[in-house]
Symmetry: C2
Subunit: 297 residues, 2 copies
């Protein structure tokens, strides 16, 4: 990769000191599968029956009623506001340790409907190789996801070699307090602190990292601003977008390049045109990736 | 240090894997001088004339009028709400790059009124040694400050060997946008995201790091919750508080142990008693530190 050579070879005019080598990766659709629905949203929806058991009054209230009905068609019509209500109810009120136990347990037991494998196996082999290659060259790799930060931190180390402190995501507040034995606790609170998508991605990078990345990887309009912000820095910068154009081995969606439209991981033609105009690399899953998942032989 | 031996020696039952070795340090009064006023507040106050030049309408409005008067007695009576107004006006509206240039410039030129030296020279030599010792043993060292995060990130690497991404502080939002040439910008916004003091310290640690520290260092009631949270973890944990009891070589304030009361870096008797009861280490600057500053011979 020319970019890595240019930024890590000492005599290069584009050399970047090791401490400044930051690379940021969107997660859903860039590092792992996001269709038919973001894993984080799947988790939240599957938490609803548990929540409704503890708070039976929710059973007759929308959008919980729809989720509990299990009616996939009705669920597909839930709005962003509905989803926010569900996330607020399903993922708050517990301590951060309780959340970690439940989320880890779910990640170990839940299965993707198409491959019947844990979501953590549906990571893209070529992207794992990029992560390793960059780290071998002194880059610190970060996840910058629109999904929940606490959720994305579970298993990021095992799956990607990315420690929790290198995960930036949509983050709610926590509240410091004490349990009945006087032991300090942090309880998850519904108050949204950072919406880490679109312009929120560079904002989150500034908040959590405080440096402009030298490389950024994404796959949708939610990553556009992160790539623009990365590209606006001096010297060599690397911007890459994954185009999902392989319905056979994974999924095909855009609507860029005539691919089917989608609400999950939208890649518009305008983003495609911006990428071409700014010399960002667009990766075709179909043409550029020999193997998609590690489990494929 | 027994703590470091216990947590880094492989056969020890209290061994901590290198990836989990996190140590957090308050900055003001723990790593550098905070009297007569927090450096970050000094910076904000000195920014007011610059701001008033750009926005002359502020000249006749409180609290700006008082700050511009230069009347130290009147300034000492400013409330927290006044200071928040000043911070909001003095440190927002510019891009993060513009902020960095101004803050760095101030840190290079401003002088502490007592020693007539840059604030960055008023760091405690024994704490620099602790930072190095912990890092030499695989600990990642973080600043967790009630002061402004963007401000604390300036020069943290040079002064403490702590990179900007390891600085957690009180943080305002930024806003992603484009300048007149279409170049992406992040502009500092007055909206407070994280108040990183008292209970906000463990909350900030969870938000930015996502792991409970194994060691935490502070000097005031604003650090109490960070030390409690650290101490509530399993295994070996190290909690230390610096007591400023050396008026001759630095400052003396509490009001713990009969020291003079202060609003800047308050160390109450209740905190002192909690420290003793929980076996936290209280460092006496007077008795325990042979040298306070690096510039002393």
């Amino acid at each position: 990769m020319t970019f890595v050579k240019e930024t890590t070879d000492q005599p290069s005019p584009k050399f970047v000191p090791a401490t400044e080598r930051i690379a940021t990766f969107d997660q859903d659709g860039t590092l792992w599968v996001e269709h038919p629905m973001y894993t984080f949203v799947m988790y939240s929806l599957e938490r609803v029956p548990v929540v409704a058991k503890a708070k039976p009054e929710l059973k007759d209230v929308e959008p919980f009623k729809t989720v509990l009905s299990g009616n996939r068609e009705a669920m597909a019509k839930l709005t962003t506001a509905d989803l926010e209500k569900i996330l607020g109810a399903a993922l708050t009120g517990m301590t951060v340790e309780e959340f970690a136990v439940e989320a880890k347990n779910w990640l170990e037991t839940a299965r993707h409907p198409r491959w019947n494998r844990p979501y953590t196996e549906l990571v893209y082999q070529p992207m794992l190789e990029v992560l390793h290659y960059l780290r071998d060259n002194g880059y610190k790799t970060y996840i910058v996801t629109g999904g929940g930060q606490d959720f994305a931190r579970m298993g990021s180390d095992k799956v990607y070699g990315i420690p929790p402190e290198h995960v930036v995501g949509t983050a709610s507040a926590t509240k410091y307090g004490y349990d009945k034995d006087g032991k300090p606790t942090l309880t998850k609170d519904p108050k949204l602190m950072l919406f880490d998508d679109f312009g929120g991605k560079p904002e989150g990078i500034h908040l959590m990292i405080g440096r402009r990345p030298y490389a950024a990887f994404g796959n949708s309009t939610g990553d556009q601003q992160m790539l623009e912000y990365t590209g606006a820095g001096d010297g060599a910068r690397l911007m890459m977008l994954v185009l999902h154009d392989d319905a056979e081995r994974e999924y095909a969606y855009g609507p860029a390049q005539g691919l089917p439209d989608t609400k999950v991981g939208t890649f518009t033609q305008a983003l495609y045109d911006e990428a071409k105009q700014k010399s960002w690399t667009v990766i075709s899953m179909k043409k550029d990736w020999k193997r998609i998942f590690a489990f494929e032989s």
